[in-house]
Every structure is written in structure tokens, then in C-alpha cells.
Amino acid sequence: MSYRIEPRRNASALANLLAPVIAVALTLLFGGALFAVLGYPPIETLTAFFIRPVSSMYGFTELLVKAVPLIIIAAGLSVGFRANVWNIGAEGQLTMGAIAATGVGLFAPEALYPMLLPLMFVAGLVGGAAWAGIAALLRTKLNTNEILVTLMLTYIAGLFLSFLVRGPWRDPNGYNFPQTALLPYEGMLEPLDPMYRVTASVVFALIALVALWVVTARSFAGYRLSVGGAAPRAARYAGFSEKGAIWVGLLTGGAAAGIAGFYEAAGPLGQLSAVISPGYGFAAIIVAFVGRLSAPGILLGGLFLALTYVGGESVQMSHGIPSPITRVFQGLLLFLLLASEFFVSYRLVRTGRAAA
């Protein structure tokens, strides 16, 4: 008796649904084992990681604070990933969006204050999109690999931020800390409820998801991108522009990351410092894949990945477990998800000589 792998004839809806669920379950299993190996009681620690942080209203709102940038960025990146455009520099685009938005917030004349937030929003969008646009320009005009360019640009954006907060934008009254002055009151987002840190960005995240759903499930633009991603020669045959797809894919992801940068700067942060993101731009890539590049999936994936952040902070406080454990969980989840996806398109078939 032996087994053989064969492609499924019709995509299995059940497997499609189960794959991420199984991946999450296995991540918990491996995570528990990992805690055990590190010498912590697995069940106890998993509870502290995944349940305790969200068992209070405050904890839940903190989860939303982390989930919002992940969801916004992942929604934008999914558009590109569907077209096989590999923007993995969202972290840098978020940084540039935050820089542009903060720049407007700090230096706009007071006459503009009544519309300061919308201006900052646009600045963030443009900043992120422009940073991704460099990669799109190089790819379409000069045939340069966008993966490497977006990544290198991420390092450059990080150094640029560091330069600004240590140099020209440093708060003169900031005791020499590498950070800018606080944004003016008009440039800061009010929390929806003064008890918590959640802002209107939650609403925007939902809008982004709806937009993604419309684009991917119904729109002709989304259809063209998916054809280009799945079968480039078929896209050429149909007359769908390859360069257009590259531009759309990169600019959408960049704009989304830039907007997320705006929301971070004007929301929880209120100012720029040398480090403004705990790796949202990279984690959003995982969110996009965990969510299978679809809107409902990204919603769930964003919440789960956000949980790895708050859980990591939680177990650091309660058990003294180093917080980078968060990225171990994230990587593990992505690995397992990719592996489980295999069973969406393939299945194991039992073969015996007699039955063949």
C-alpha cells in the first residue's frame, strides 16, 4: 500500500477553508511545544499569550490598535500579490508615509490647521506610494527586480527616519532624545473613546477590506491582475497590460502602507522617533498570505497576527519570555500555512497495485 499525490480537479472549498484553521491550530501546538522546551508550562503560557491579553475590553482595543495597520497594509499588498508583484518593502513605505504625514503636521502653517488631518492623510498616502513607485519605475522602465529594490528602499527609509529624528527634525525641547516634537493638537486623531487608544483608523481598515473585496471579487481591474499573476502569457494574449499591473500592484501596496504610517503617526505615536513600527510591514505580508489574499481572510489574519504582538508583550511581562518570540510565532504560522495550502490544490491518493 502506498500513497501518491495528485492535483485536485476542482478546488475544494472545504480544504480552502480548513487550511488556515489547521495552520493556526498547528501553530498553537508547536508553540506550546516550544514553550515546554524553553521550560515554561505550555498551557499556562499559551493562555497568557493568546487569551489573557484579550480578555478585557482594554486588551481587546489594544489588539485592534495593532490589527489596524496590519489589515490596511495587507489589503493593499494583496492587490499586488494577486498580480505576482512582490512588494516586500511595505515597512519602508509605512516609514515614508509616516514621515510625510508628520512633516505636514509639524510644518504646515496654522491657516491649514482646520484641514490638517486630511492633508496629513494625503501626504502619508503619497509618501508611501511614491516610495513604492520608485520600485515600479525601475521594474517597468529598467527591468529591475522589485523584491530587492523594495527591500533596499526599506533600509534606506529607516536610515532617513533616523537622520531626521537625530538631525533636522529633532525636538529642540526633547532633551536630546532622537524624536520629533509632538504633532499639534489638530494633527492628532482623537480616540473614539477616551478610555482606549482606538481611533477612526478602525473604520478605514474596514473600508479598505470592503474595497479589496470589490476589487478582487467583482471588478474587471481585479480580474486582470489575477490573470496576470496566474498566467502572464494568458494576460498578454488577452491584451492586459503587464506594466499597468506592476504599477497598480506596487502603488496600491505603497499607498496602503503610507496611510497606515499616517494613522500610526497621528494616532498612537503622536510624533516620530527612531523606531516607529514593530515590523508591521513584514507581518502584513504574513497577514496577506494567511488571509489567502481575500478580504475576510485578511480580517481574521490581521487579528491573529495582532494577537501575536500583544501576546508577545503579555508573556514578556508575565513570564519574562523574550518578546522576539512574537516573530517566531509569525514565521511558524506562515510556514504551516504554506504547507497546509498544499492540500488545497493537491490530495493524497491511496494506491495499491491491485486497485490501480
Binding site: P7, R9, N10, F220, A230, A231, R233, A234, G239, R353
Partner: protein, 506 residues
């Protein structure tokens, strides 16, 4: 004397299809034995069984009298059985000698190997230079290298699967000379083909397959082409109906001195191609792939751009228009690659209907009308009797012939003024091929202009009103249907002049 290879009662079924049903045959030493049959007759499965790629459900295989059971390709090679696949299995980026080395065991000693290659090549009259990179070889040279690779291992049974499908008539002649020499040295050859003339010219014996069964065992040198064809197809070849037609007054598609390398440096240079295609006619472009077919087709479809005035749809210069714009102007195109180009493998037939139907009502206000697309896909499936699991079936789940019917049906549903089709019946079974050919004729009789690229001369002669030959990037003058014979077209394919009209050969 024991036969070199003897099959008795070999059967093999796949889900839904019996590929081989109780097949028996016998090949003597030094014999060139043809396995003759249409696409889908079960030839390839049978070869895979002999070579050990696939295990039969029933029956036995004897090689030199010894029973072969559950043997692997590796064991076959150890026994002296070699196989040359229809699509070459050479490595393009390495040299001829390295390609040979990869088939032999032992240390890599290229200088010694080069000598051996030269010796073997000289012995069989093969023109193979061990130092050349495969990428630079012509199709004929590659075929010779494939065979040389086998000869280096002193085979006793050589299996050739459709070896002439990419060869020019001259290269075919050279190949036959080599094969006769190999057989004369005692090696048996199994020659798989659906080309009657070749089998009659080369083979000592023939086993004819149809629908997985043996329908005849003959000496092809004695049998007539007609007898063989009846065994192969089951009845007389279906002859399409070709009602007379009058071409439109003005051309629907015109080429005016189309020149250059539309697909970049690696492609073939087109040389001053001019052509007028009228409504109501089917025009054929004959010739072996690699002579500019892909380049010319890409210039027509819009996948490659060229100077605007070199391609005209009606009066409109379209050389600089992309495929979507040309489609809006009434052009439809069926490419030779179905999966990955004509259709997106991982998407449903409904989604694949949108691929070319977006310009004709399947997109409104930027949104895809999937319900309408689904209706259209269902209609195509029904009208063209496509065997598929409804419009939701993935394109990759269809067989080659069914996918071709779907793609052709999808394009015909657009009611094009001009249809360009490349290799319409490649890998399609006899019934479906006849169906497709009839649809092409019908479309032209409804007033459209149809241009067909094909390597199958019989097919072109059957359906076309006139035939051009594309050879080395040059388009020959037209041969009217009444004067078209395989010999005359073959002469044009090798770059010769159009000879005098010969008497019909058969």
C-alpha cells in the same frame, strides 16, 4: 527465433478511459515496426508501458523471451531499450558532449567522450558536433543528437515517438537513412506515427491502433494509404462539407511588407510578408514551427507590435494596437498553446470566458458580469459538446481536445470578422478534429475571414481555399487548393520554387 519484443494481451485503463485494450504485437530483431494511430488511439500509453514508465493492468511483455515485470525506465535502459520522446529531452544550455555524458554512467571525461561521439556519429552518418551548445542546433540536429544519445548506449530496441513532427522534409529523409542503417545493424525500432506516407516508406511492419485496440497488422509496404487510413480512423476519413463561397470585395486583413524580429533577438526575422485575407475564405499558412510562425501570429494577435501600416484590419492600421484594441476591431485569435495562454489553468471556464469576452458585454462599469459569463460558458460547452464538469470546472481539468473546443467555441461566440487559428487540431482526437475543421469552414462561409497556421498539410489541403508556406521567415506565393499537393507544398517548405502542377499522387 524469439522475437525481440512480444506483447500479449496488454491492457491499461485510466479513470473514465481505456487507453489500451488487449494489445498484442511482436517485433523481430532488426525490424522497423510502426505503431500507427490517430491522437488518442493509445500509442503513447503503450510506449510508456513498454519503456516501464507505466505499469499495465493486465497482459505480459517479453523481451528476448524473458518476462518483464514492473520494470522501470532505468531497468529498460540497462536491457538496451531506449526511447526518444516527441518533445525532446535535451538540455539547451549545455554542450552536445555534456548532453551525451548525462546519459552515460561513470566519470566525466569530456575529451574521451568527444572522440567516441565523433566515431559513433560517423558510423551512422549523423552530423553531430560534440562541442556545440544545444541551444544553437536546428530541430533536425537536435533529433539526431537524441538518437545519438541512445546509440551511444548500444541499444537493441529503439522507440521513437512521432520523431518527424518538427522536421523539415529533407531532415526526415536524413533521419530515415540513419534509421535504416541502425536497423541493418540488428537493432529493432518501434516507430510511432500517424503519418501514413512515412510509415509506408520506412517500416517493415505496422500495428494499427484505434480507440486503444489493435485494428490491423499489415506490411505497410504492401498496403495502400487508403487501407491504412480506414484501419486507423475506422471508416473513410470524414470529409468536411465545403460549400462554394465568394470572397468579400475588400480584404478583411492585410499584411503590407511585414518585416523584422517582433519577438526580440531570439526570434526568427520576418522578411517582407504581404498577404490579403478576404471574408468568406479560409487561408492556410503551412510550414514547420520555428520558421516564423510564432512571430507572424504574434504580430497578428497584437502580442507583438510592429509598424502600424504593416498590419491592417479592413482599412484600419492596427500594427501599434494591443490585443484588446484589435479584438474590439473584430479580430479573434486561438493560440497554439491552450493552457497558460489561451486559458488560465487555475480558473474556471466562466472566468476564462471573460478573458476575451470583456470587450463584448461581459464587463459593465468596470465590474465583471459573472452571471452573464457563466451563461456564455454554458452555451459554449453545450454547442461544442465540451466534456467538462459545467462552467465552474477549472480549465486545467479539461483534456487538451476539450479545452481546444472550448477556446475555439469561446472565440467563435464573439462572431469575429477575422479569425486567426494556430494548430487547431494538435493533440485532438479524430472526431473532435473533424468537428473543429468543419466549424472553421462554416465560419468562413458565414462571411468571416479565417487564417489557419498548421504543420499538418493534409489538414490545410482539406479545409483551405489557398495555402501559403512560411519558411525561414519568408511567405511563399499562394497555392490554390486545387493545385495543392503535399509534394508541392513540401518543396516550398524547403525553400524551393513552386514546381509545375503534378498529377494527383493517389
Amino acid at each position: 527465433m524469439t522475437a525481440r519484443l512480444q506483447l500479449a494481451g496488454v491492457s491499461k485503463a485510466y479513470p473514465g478511459v481505456v487507453a489500451n485494450d488487449d494489445i498484442s504485437l511482436s517485433v523481430a530483431g532488426g525490424e522497423i515496426h510502426a505503431i500507427l494511430g490517430e491522437n488518442g488511439a493509445g500509442k503513447s500509453t503503450l510506449m510508456k508501458i513498454i519503456y516501464g514508465v507505466t505499469t499495465p493492468d493486465a497482459g505480459e511483455i517479453r523481451y528476448d523471451g524473458k518476462l518483464l515485470e514492473a520494470h522501470s525506465p532505468g531497468q529498460s535502459r540497462a536491457l538496451g531499450i531506449e526511447m526518444v520522446y516527441q518533445h525532446f529531452s535535451l538540455f539547451e544550455t549545455v554542450s552536445v558532449a555534456e548532453n551525451v555524458a548525462l546519459c552515460l554512467e561513470g566519470r566525466l571525461d569530456l575529451p574521451a567522450l568527444r572522440l567516441r561521439i565523433r566515431e559513433t556519429a560517423a558510423r551512422y552518418g549523423l552530423a553531430v558536433d560534440p562541442d556545440r551548445i544545444v541551444m544553437d542546433l536546428s530541430m533536425g540536429e537536435r533529433q539526431q543528437l537524441e538518437i545519438l544519445r541512445c546509440l551511444m548506449r548500444d541499444p537493441r530496441l529503439l522507440i521513437l515517438d512521432e520523431p518527424t513532427s518538427v522536421l523539415s522534409p529533407q531532415a526526415v529523409e536524413q533521419l530515415f537513412t540513419v534509421l535504416r542503417r541502425i536497423a541493418a545493424e540488428g537493432c529493432s525500432i518501434i516507430y510511432i506515427s500517424h503519418k501514413l506516407d512515412e510509415v509506408r516508406a520506412l517500416c517493415h511492419a505496422a500495428t494499427v491502433l484505434r480507440g486503444g485496440r489493435v485494428t490491423g497488422e499489415v506490411d505497410p509496404r504492401q498496403a495502400t494509404s487508403h487501407e491504412l487510413a480506414v484501419m486507423m480512423v475506422g471508416s473513410d476519413l470524414p470529409i468536411p462539407e465545403r460549400p462554394a463561397s465568394t470572397p468579400s470585395a475588400t480584404p478583411r486583413l492585410s499584411l503590407r511588407g511585414l518585416s523584422g524580429r517582433p519577438l526580440g533577438l531570439a526570434g526568427r526575422r520576418l522578411q517582407d510578408i504581404s498577404l490579403d485575407l478576404f471574408g468568406g475564405e479560409v487561408v492556410g499558412i503551412a510550414g514547420i514551427s520555428g520558421n516564423g510562425q510564432s512571430e507572424l501570429a504574434a504580430c497578428l494577435s497584437g502580442e507583438a507590435l510592429c509598424p502600424a501600416g504593416q498590419v491592417l484590419l479592413g482599412e484600419t492600421p492596427v500594427g501599434q494596437m494591443r490585443p484588446d484594441a484589435r479584438r474590439r476591431a473584430g479580430l479573434a485569435y486561438v493560440p497554439e498553446e491552450r493552457l497558460g495562454r489561451g486559458a488560465v489553468p487555475g480558473q474556471s471556464l466562466t472566468a476564462n470566458t471573460v478573458l476575451t469576452g470583456y470587450a463584448s458585454g461581459l464587463v459593465r462599469h468596470g465590474m465583471v458580469r459573472f452571471a452573464e459569463a457563466r451563461r456564455r460558458a454554458s452555451a459554449v460547452i453545450e454547442r461544442f459538446s465540451v466534456k467538462a464538469d459545467g462552467p465552474g470546472a477549472l480549465a486545467s481539468s479539461l483534456s487538451g481536445g476539450n479545452l481546444q473546443k472550448f477556446i475555439l467555441g469561446r472565440e467563435l461566440a464573439l462572431a469575429p470578422d477575422v479569425l486567426v487559428v494556430a494548430q487547431p487540431t494538435w493533440g485532438v482526437d479524430v472526431g473532435a478534429a473533424a468537428f473543429i475543421r468543419q466549424r472553421l469552414i462554416d465560419l468562413s462561409r458565414d462571411g468571416a475571414a479565417v487564417l489557419v497556421f498548421s504543420e499538418e498539410l493534409d489538414e490545410l489541403i482539406e479545409i483551405c481555399d489557398r495555402i501559403h508556406v512560411l519558411s525561414e521567415g519568408q511567405l511563399s506565393e499562394a497555392v490554390p487548393r486545387e493545385e495543392a499537393t503535399k509534394d508541392r507544398l513540401g518543396a516550398l517548405m524547403t525553400g524551393g520554387e513552386l514546381g509545375p502542377v503534378a498529377e494527383p499522387a493517389e
